[in-house]
Symmetry: C2
Subunit: 256 residues, 2 copies
């Protein structure tokens, strides 16, 4: 590549999140960096977009470094749409999302704001990767991830990511020397069993908090859950063509 | 089936939407109906869930009929979680979502609150179908759809929907006699080209409205877009395993 690659950095934990700062630092070593991130936390926003209200966007500079930064009022997917179609003067060579504070492995991919931002970039034709660490803490240690993220990013820029595919990369919460390597995986067939915590407000009205337990009955060794629980970084190629191609033949027998 | 099937009815346009009312009417002919719908419109909410604020839910009765109805403060996916894990005393035999006022064909499936509710049911192990009409109008005519929705629902209850698959059904805006039939399709590879309408507010601050044009370059005859534009009802089997299985082999060559 003659010029430095243009890298769009987004996230869902918001512009101040330490995971985003860690990702900016790594990307500054690789390319020209533009950050477009939500002005407030947007976890579990899925692929929401803002169609019935206005969007605000402000150029800011939160930390030192060569990157350009924009803080936006929208969802993670909105940030990518704004970046690609309004803020940037050329199409980015890569979009990286994260580093998310918390897991986006298995079924979590579908609720994830981090991955929806990466997916949105993929839909817009921009190669994209979402990075997440299995540690919800605001003070999570992102240092053990840096070498891996650097390598995966360089490889993605060099090899290109297959069209229609977005990478979902999750890291176990381990010291660098204890991470065994990287595995290309499929999404484990796991889900959440919800428990609603029912309470009564001071006015006597009932309300709920959504809580839940993650349950994984998929014990095969080719899944992201297996990789993560055995000390590996998981890379799941994900797609936004949701068609269950294998069941088209079966459904044709319904004679609708 | 000895007893009437238990059918959970949800949507994203909100509990008062005429599309929901039309769906309730059809389902009342088939089973025991419980409605759990957002108390306000939740279009384009994708698969957002509410994890950082409280949820409210109220038993109401908006129209006559044997159905039970709950109005909830959350997203479409929240409504399904609440229904299955808190409000219903047994697992529903089917979840139907819609009838959405507007298209959820092609890439729209990923932004859709209607389909996220159906997907959430699928994840919870409940067979699920999303229904949408290509007419954004609040006064859209849902009558031409009734016969088709009735038939698809009966077939789904009788045959079962393959595990891990959720049906995305879209209807063209046509009179009943002009609908040519039903086609099982794949999701067309189309996307939106965004245009941000940039304005200045009375305080002199810039803001944006997200607008866009739907662009479909996928002209094959096995897509939902082809079916809909040729007078057919489209049925796309969709899945929440987002793994791009075909690219795992390719990515293994990266030697990460």
């Amino acid at each position: 590549m003659k010029t430095k690659p243009l890298i769009l950095v987004v996230n869902d934990d918001g512009i101040t999140a330490p995971g985003l700062r860690a990702l900016i630092e790594i990307m500054n070593e690789i390319g020209e960096v533009v950050v477009v991130a939500p002005d407030s936390p947007q976890s579990a926003m899925g692929h929401a977009i803002t169609i019935n209200s206005t969007l605000h966007c402000q150029k800011i500079n939160l930390t030192n470094g060569p990157q350009l930064e924009y803080s936006c009022s929208g969802t993670p997917a909105d940030c990518v749409k704004l970046a690609v179609n309004e803020l940037l003067d050329r199409k980015p060579d890569l979009c990286v999302s994260g580093i998310n504070h918390g897991s986006n492995s298995s079924i979590n991919v579908i609720y994830s704001g981090t991955m929806s931002a990466a997916m949105e970039a993929g839909i817009e034709g921009v190669p994209a990767i979402g990075f997440s660490l299995l540690d919800f803490s605001w003070n999570a240690d992102f240092n053990p991830l840096k070498r891996f993220i650097h390598k995966i990013t360089i490889k993605a820029l060099k090899n290109g990511i297959p069209k229609g595919v977005v990478l979902n990369v999750n890291f176990p919460k381990l010291k660098e020397e204890n991470i065994k390597g990287v595995k290309i995986c499929r999404q484990a067939k796991a889900s959440w069993v919800e428990e609603f915590d029912k309470r009564t407000n001071p006015m006597g009205k009932e309300y709920y908090w959504l809580t839940g337990t993650f349950v994984n009955k998929d014990k095969e060794e080719d899944t992201d859950e297996w990789a993560l629980s055995h000390g590996y970084v998981s890379v799941v190629p994900t797609q936004f063509d949701l068609t269950a191609h294998h069941s088209i033949k079966h459904l044709n027998k319904w004679n609708l």
